[in-house]
């Protein structure tokens, strides 16, 4: 299991290959990649991601460990960036490997649902006009946790 919190970008293809090479007897591998997209009204210049360094790694490891136990994963990977990102850049990825596809999918969705609402990151949208808005947590995202 690997959890990385980093400012630098990551190479999706290389990470996927490395992860897939190490999963042993798993029959199913799922990856999720989050990409900075434009603001709903357009004009997003950058996304600034703040985090709580002393807590982040610990929180992500707790979430990944829970997923690994709950779905008997062969392996799990979480990479999450912080700092200033522009539209099109990749923010984060997760990968899961399990014997069966249902488990790999569920575990990846679980990781994402918990990352969204329980990992100490905060996003600020910087618009081209200079306006800056903290992204609000969505009621949908909080509600998604009830599934688990």
């Amino acid at each position: 299991m690997q959890v990385r919190v980093q400012e630098a970008g990551f190479d999706l293809g290389a990470e996927s290959d490395t992860f897939a090479a190490g999963v042993g007897g798993a029959g199913a591998i799922v990856t999720f990649t989050g990409v900075v997209r434009d603001a709903d009204g357009g004009g997003l210049e950058a996304m600034e991601i703040e985090h709580y360094p002393a807590m982040t790694q610990k929180a992500l490891e707790a979430i990944a460990t829970e997923a690994k136990i709950r779905w008997e994963l062969s392996d799990a990977l979480v990479i999450h960036r912080y700092g200033r990102l522009v539209p099109g850049e990749r923010i984060m990825m997760v990968a899961t490997a399990a014997r069966h596809r249902k488990h790999a999918f569920e575990a990846a969705e679980y990781l994402m649902d918990y990352l969204k609402s329980r990992a100490p990151f905060w996003k600020k949208e910087i618009l081209s006009g200079g306006q800056a808005d903290w992204v609000s947590a969505k009621a949908d995202d909080e509600a998604a946790l009830e599934r688990w």
């Binding site: 709580y52 969204k116 609402s117 329980r118 990992a119 990151f121 992204v135």
Partner: protein, 81 residues
């Protein structure tokens, strides 16, 4: 006790981290004490339902006791992923 702030809580209070001398028994007591101290705290803590708290880097709640806690963090609901 170290108190740290993130996102708009940090912006409203104006510092990312500070040392606070307090004998507050719970998080709620600490919030009341800071809010009484200066307007910027009162503004940041006006709506507790919009805030989250972590004690020594573990999510907690406003009723939690502060005894033995070294770092309290206040921040808005998280928006990772």
């Amino acid at each position: 006790m170290d108190v740290v702030y993130f996102a708009w809580v940090r912006e409203r209070i104006g510092v990312p981290r500070e040392q606070v001398e307090t004998s507050a028994a719970t998080v709620a007591d600490l919030v009341a004490e800071l809010s009484a101290r200066e307007e910027r705290y009162a503004a940041a803590f006006a709506d507790l339902s919009a805030l989250r708290v972590a004690l020594d880097q573990e999510l907690s709640d406003f009723d939690a006791a502060l005894e033995g806690v070294r770092e309290v963090a206040f921040f808005p609901p998280m928006t990772g992923g």
